[in-house]
């Protein structure tokens, strides 16, 4: 049985719908991981000890265990304590928090690298520490780590395939559905790969635009 790409058009809409879900889950999780990363970084650096220590445990959970297990825990595990999340929401939370922890590491390092004079100048004008962090230090730190955060977001896109295991019919699962009907794994996995590649190009274009935008303010 050779390759036969002529089966693709019939299931193209299925796979395309999957691609749309992949974009949706990636964008939602990326936003959560970005803003979550900022909040986590500030907590890790500035929160009082009784917040910081439990937070470390939470961080370890997300950095030290497989994302797959985290998704299972959020989707199947939380039901037992009465939190019954739709698969899409569970997927966004799992992916988003997982990458938020990685983004937080980057942002923490960047916050510590912002020149001490910035905080001093802000405090001298009468800003509180919180105001100075929010308006002066954190924006600069985030700006400095846009490129590595972008790399994390590309990794997030690829890891979004994992949410197929909790039943979100994103790109990978949609390809599998088409394969189930046609028995044509090569053709549809290649098609899925092409879609991933296109989404990837789109993300890189967006990231480049953001980088260019912040470049002026240096």
């Amino acid at each position: 049985m050779g390759l036969d790409f002529s089966v693709i058009p019939k299931y193209l809409d299925v796979v395309m719908m999957g691609a749309v879900w992949t974009v949706a889950i990636t964008v939602a999780a990326a936003l959560l991981s970005f803003f979550g990363g900022i909040v986590f970084a500030v907590i890790a650096l500035y929160a009082p000890k009784f917040v910081r220590l439990p937070f470390r445990a939470f961080e370890w959970l997300f950095m030290g265990t497989p994302l797959l297990l985290q998704l299972f825990l959020i989707y199947f595990g939380l039901v037992q304590i009465g939190i019954d999340l739709p698969a899409f929401v569970a997927g966004v939370i799992g992916l988003g928090l997982h990458f938020a922890v990685y983004n937080s590491e980057l942002i923490q390092t960047a916050i510590l690298a912002v020149d001490k004079g910035q905080m001093e100048a802000a405090r001298t004008l009468g800003l509180s520490r919180g105001q100075a962090l929010k308006k002066v230090v954190v924006p600069q730190a985030v700006r400095d780590v846009i490129p590595p955060i972008g790399n994390n977001m590309i990794a997030l896109l690829k890891d979004s395939a994992l949410v197929s295991v909790i039943g979100v019919s994103e790109l990978t699962l949609s390809a599998q559905l088409a394969i189930g009907r046609t028995y044509r794994p090569f053709e549809f996995y290649v098609l899925a790969a092409v879609f991933y590649y296109i989404i990837n190009l789109g993300m890189e274009a967006v990231l480049r635009r953001i980088e260019r935008k912040v470049q002026a303010a240096r």
Binding site: L125, V136, R143, A216
Partner: protein, 257 residues
Amino acid sequence: MTDQKPFVDIRHAKKSYGTLEVLKDISLQVHRGEIVAIIGPSGSGKSTLLRAINDLDPLSGGEIWLEDTQVNMDLPHRQYEKHINEVRQNIGMVFQHFNLFPHLTVRENITLAPKLLKGINDAEANKLAEEQLAKVGMLERIDYYPSQLSGGQKQRVAIARALAMKPKVMLFDEATSALDPELVEEVNQVMKALAEEHMTMIIVTHEMGFAESVCDRVLFMDQGVVVEEGPPSVIFRNPQNERTRNFLRKHLADANK
């Protein structure tokens, strides 16, 4: 003027890092409208003293007063933060390395604090920024980012940013030390203009010529003490203390190298 209550009153300021005493019981009274220069070798404690005035470097002992308010009041942490944030609005500070906010435009650098702390709206904030920038001759750069400015321009913007809070006193911490020689003059001009408006100023500087021409009084500090103080004509032309003489001689020799 001198019979009035002092405007800035430093009483027995002491500061040590471990066993190293940086400030050894320094007292200094500055009156409203007075311009005081602090000179001395590096490590003499002059910047530490300046930074103690707005509590950037808290003292280990002694009191700082601004008019009728004690700056370094003994309060529980939360209350103290509230207190110091209010006090600092009255004390403008200019740094050696400008410390402009690089992610904000010149306009935003100036309007950030007034908008946050004085609750003024965008139109008022813009007017304030334009006024202050016109004062330092930087109005045409209002929408530039700091990275697009020269060192002298950055420092002029930094001065405008401090002035936008309408401070009662301005502190200058080696404001021209990081500048290329040809850019020093434009910053000095701005400071002279402020002096003519009778802004109260305390200036830590290495520029003896500027200190002599602008200041009412000069303090020479060395090893954490005020060795000698007096009008610039005395300190620069006829210093009484041997250490002052040595410092000025060495400084002059370095400057002429």
